[in-house]
C-alpha cells in the first residue's frame, strides 16, 4: 500500500526567514559568569543596591544547584562560562525620539516586519523591542501614560518606578524556583514592565519583540506585568534569532500578577531559530512563565504558538489563589526536523470555585519530538474547582514522536477534573478528500494542520493569528514529496 506517510516522510527543509544577523555596534561584557560579572551588569544599569543584592542571592543559590535533566528532551552539556551574559547595541546617548534609533536597528526590525514607527503596519499596538539583552525602543509611551498605563523596559522601571517593581519582582517566580529561573534572577539584563492601574482597560495591545543578534550571547530577559483591581490588558510576545551553528541559550522569566477582577491575556508566537535540517544550531528556549490570580474573580490566559527553537522547555502556569479566578492555557507546538519540545502548563487551584481550561495541540514532523507535560493540582481548600484538559497530537512521519505526561492531583471531593487526549497521524481520508477537490498534498497538509490548531488560533489577537498560521505553513513546507 502506498500510504501518504511515504510522501510525508521527506520532511521539512524548513526555510527560516529571520536568519540574518545585523552588524550593530555592540557593548558586551566578557564571557563567563561570576559575582564580578553580575556587579558589572548591575552597575551598567545603574541599579539600586536591593536589586544587586537580590541578584547576588540568586547567583549564590544557583551555584549550589545542579542542572535538571528530568525533562523529555536531549541536549549536550551547556558551558555556562562560555556565554556572554550582557550584550547591548550601543545606544546613542538619550534618544529624543524614535527617529534617532540606530538606522541599522530600524532596518533589522523592518526585515522582521516589526515597525518601530508608530504609524506603520502594527499601528494600534505598542511595541517594546528588545535586542540581545536590552530594550531598544518602546513605542506609544505617551498615549499609554495618558491613561496611567506604564509600559517600558524593565531597566527603566527599576529607575523610575522602583516602588512598583520591588514588591512584585520574584513574587510569582521566586529566585529559588528552578535552575534556569535562578540563573535568570542573577543575570537578567532587561525585559518589559507593564503596570495597568486600578480600573483601567489598556487602550491597545502591548507587544514585546525579542531578538537575539550577537553571537555567543544568552538572552535572559525578565518581564513583569501587574494588573491592579479591575484592570485589563492584552500582551503579545514575538521572538526571532539569526541562524548560527552553535546553540544559544534563552532563559527568560515572565511574571504576571492579577489583582481582584483583573484580566491578563498573554500571547506568544515563538519563532526562535530552530536549527538546520540536521539539528545543528538553534535556540535552547528554557523559560519560566507563571501568573498569579491573586485576587478574586481575576483571570489569566496564556496562549502560545511555538514553532521555533531547537529545544522548547516551558510550562506557563497559573496559581489560582483568588476565589472564582480563572486560568487558561492554549498551546500549539510544532516540532519539525530535529526540534524537541517539552511544554505544557501548571494549574494550581487554591481558591474556591476556581476554573481552568487547557487546550494543547502538538504537531510532530520529521524527527521532531513533542511532549505535553501538565500539572493540575487542586488543594484541600479548592472547593468547587474545575478543570478541563484537551490534548491532541498529530504525527507526520514515522520518525516523529508525541508524548503526553499529565499529572492530576485532586484533594477536594467537590473538584471536577477531566483530561482527554488523543494521538494519531494525519488522516489519509482527509488528505484524499482535499486532493480530490484539486488541492495539492502540501496545501492539504497545511490546511488540515491549521484546522487542527484553530481552537488555539482563535484565542490569538488578529495579527498574531494570521502570523501564526503563516508560520505553521512555512514550517510545514517541504513536508510532502
Amino acid at each position: 500500500m502506498t500510504g501518504v506517510s511515504d510522501d510525508v516522510r521527506e520532511f521539512v527543509s524548513q526555510q527560516y526567514q529571520y536568519g540574518f544577523s545585523t552588524d550593530l555596534d555592540t557593548d558586551v561584557v566578557p564571557k563567563g559568569l561570576n559575582e564580578d560579572v553580575i556587579r558589572l551588569i548591575s552597575a551598567k544599569k545603574h541599579e539600586p543596591d536591593w536589586l544587586l543584592e537580590w541578584r547576588l542571592r540568586a547567583y549564590r543559590y544557583w551555584i549550589t544547584l545542579e542542572e535538571p535533566h528530568w525533562q523529555n528532551v536531549h541536549y549536550g552539556p551547556i558551558d555556562y562560562q562560555d556565554i556572554i551574559y550582557y550584550a547591548a547595541p550601543k545606544p546613542k546617548p538619550e534618544l529624543a525620539s524614535l527617529d534617532e534609533v540606530d538606522p541599522e536597528l530600524r532596518t533589522m526590525f523592518d526585515k522582521l516586519g516589526i515597525s518601530l514607527a508608530e504609524q506603520e503596519r502594527l499601528s494600534g499596538v505598542a511595541v517594546d523591542a528588545i535586542v540581545d539583552s536590552v530594550s531598544v525602543a518602546t513605542t506609544f509611551k505617551q498615549k499609554l501614560a495618558d491613561v496611567g498605563v506604564i509600559f517600558c523596559s524593565f531597566s527603566e522601571a527599576v529607575q523610575n518606578h522602583p516602588e512598583l517593581v520591588r514588591p512584585y519582582l520574584g513574587s510569582v517566580v521566586p529566585y529559588r524556583d528552578n535552575y534556569f529561573a535562578t540563573l535568570n534572577s542573577a543575570v537578567f539584563t532587561d525585559g518589559s514592565f507593564c503596570f495597568i492601574p486600578k480600573g483601567v482597560h489598556c487602550p491597545m495591545e502591548l507587544s514585546t519583540y525579542f531578538r537575539i543578534n550577537a553571537a555567543d550571547t544568552g538572552q535572559f530577559e525578565r518581564t513583569l506585568i501587574v494588573a491592579e483591581e479591575g484592570a485589563d490588558v492584552s500582551y503579545l510576545e514575538g521572538c526571532t534569532a539569526p541562524m548560527r551553528d552553535n546553540n544559544q541559550l534563552h532563559a527568560a522569566v515572565v511574571e504576571l500578577v492579577a489583582l481582584e477582577g483583573a484580566r491578563i491575556k498573554y500571547s506568544t508566537v515563538q519563532n526562535w531559530y530552530p536549527g538546520d535540517a540536521e539539528g545543528r544550531g538553534g535556540i535552547y528556549n528554557f523559560v519560566t512563565k507563571r501568573g498569579k490570580c491573586a485576587g478574586a474573580n481575576s483571570r489569566i490566559s496564556w496562549t502560545q504558538v511555538e514553532t521555533g527553537s531547537a529545544i522548547t522547555w516551558k510550562y506557563p502556569g497559573v496559581i489560582l489563589q483568588g476565589d472564582n479566578s480563572v486560568g487558561e492555557f492554549y498551546s500549539v507546538a510544532l516540532t519539525a526536523n530535529h526540534q524537541q519540545a517539552d511544554t505544557g502548563t501548571k494549574m494550581i487551584h487554591i481558591g474556591k470555585n476556581t476554573h481552568s481550561t487547557i487546550v494543547s495541540k502538538a504537531i510532530s514532523a520529521g524527527h521532531g519530538q513533542n511532549t505535553y507535560r501538565g500539572l493540575v493540582k487542586t488543594l484541600r481548600s479548592a472547593e468547587g474547582a474545575r478543570n478541563h484538559t484537551r490534548c491532541d497530537s498529530l504525527l507526520l512521519g514515522s520518525d516523529s514522536g508525541a508524548h503526553t505526561f499529565p499529572y492530576i492531583e485532586v484533594k477536594h471531593p467537590s473538584a471536577q477534573v477531566e483530561h482527554e487526549a488523543s494521538t494519531s497521524k494525519i488522516s489519509e481520508d482527509q488528505l484524499f478528500y482535499c486532493r480530490q477537490r484539486g488541492i495539492s498534498e502540501e496545501d492539504a497538509v497545511s490546511m488540515i494542520v491549521n484546522g487542527f490548531c484553530r481552537e488555539v488560533f482563535k484565542e490569538l489577537p488578529m495579527e498574531f493569528a494570521v502570523e501564526a498560521q503563516r508560520l505553521l505553513s512555512v514550517s510545514l513546507e517541504g513536508s510532502v514529496g
Binding site: 484524499f432 486532493r435 488541492i439 491549521n450 487542527f452
Partner: protein
Amino acid sequence: MMLQIENLHAQIGENEILRGVNLEVAAGEVHAIMGPNGSGKSTLANVLAGHEAYDITGTVLFEGEDLLALSPEDRAAAGVFLAFQHPVEIPGVGNLYFLRTALNSVRRQRGLGELDVMGFLALARERMKLVEMDESFMSRSVNEDFSGGEKKRNEILQMTVLEPKLAILDETDSGLDIDALRIVAGGVNALRGPDRALVVITHHQRLLDYIVPDQVHVMAGGRIVRSGDKHLALELEAHGYADLGQEVASDRSASVGATP
C-alpha cells in the same frame, strides 16, 4: 470518448476487488451503476479518483490521456469529481475557505485566473441557492457535525462550483428523504450538458426517476455483468439482483471467496 476503462483490476493486499471492469462513457451521457453490496462499485469510484490504497492494473483513459498516471489533485484539475459516499469531516477548516482554495487550485491548473473573495462569494451564493443551502453552512468546518443529508448537499455544492467534466456520484442518494433527493437531483441536473458526463452509483431506482440515465450497468463480483437502458433499472427494482442469472451468482460467490 470521455472515459475509457479497459480490463481494470484493483486489489488491496491479496483481496482482489475489481476483476476486469470495462466501461465507456461519452460526453453528454449519464451512466448508472447498480449492484449488490461488495460488488466493487465504490472501489471503482475511488480508483477513478486516484485513491492510493489499491494496486491497480488495466487502462483508464480520460479524454485520451492516461488517468492512472495522475495524482488525485491533477485528476481534479483535469475535471474528474467524486461525490463521496461518506464525506470526511475536517475540523477547524472553514467550508467556504476550503471551497475557495479548491476552486482556485483547480482554476490555476486550468490556466484560469484565481477568483478574488468577492467574485468567489458571488459564485458560491448562486450555487448555494441551487442546492438550497443556508449561508450558515459556509462558516462551519468542512462537514463537521453536518447531518447525512447536509453532507450530501455539500458534495453537490462543491460539484456545481468546481464544474467538472466527469462527475461520479457514489450513493449520493442513500439516506436522503424525498425532499433532499429532489434538491440533490436538481443540483446534478443543473450541471448536465453536452460537454459533461455523469456516472451515478446507486442502490435505488428512485434516484433514476430524477436523473434519467442513458445506460444502466450492473456490477457483481468486481465486473460489469450486464448493461442496458433505463428499463434495466426498473427490472432490477422489481426482481432484485438474484434474477440476473447464473453469471452474477457465481461471480458473487467468487467475490465472497476472495474476501474471507
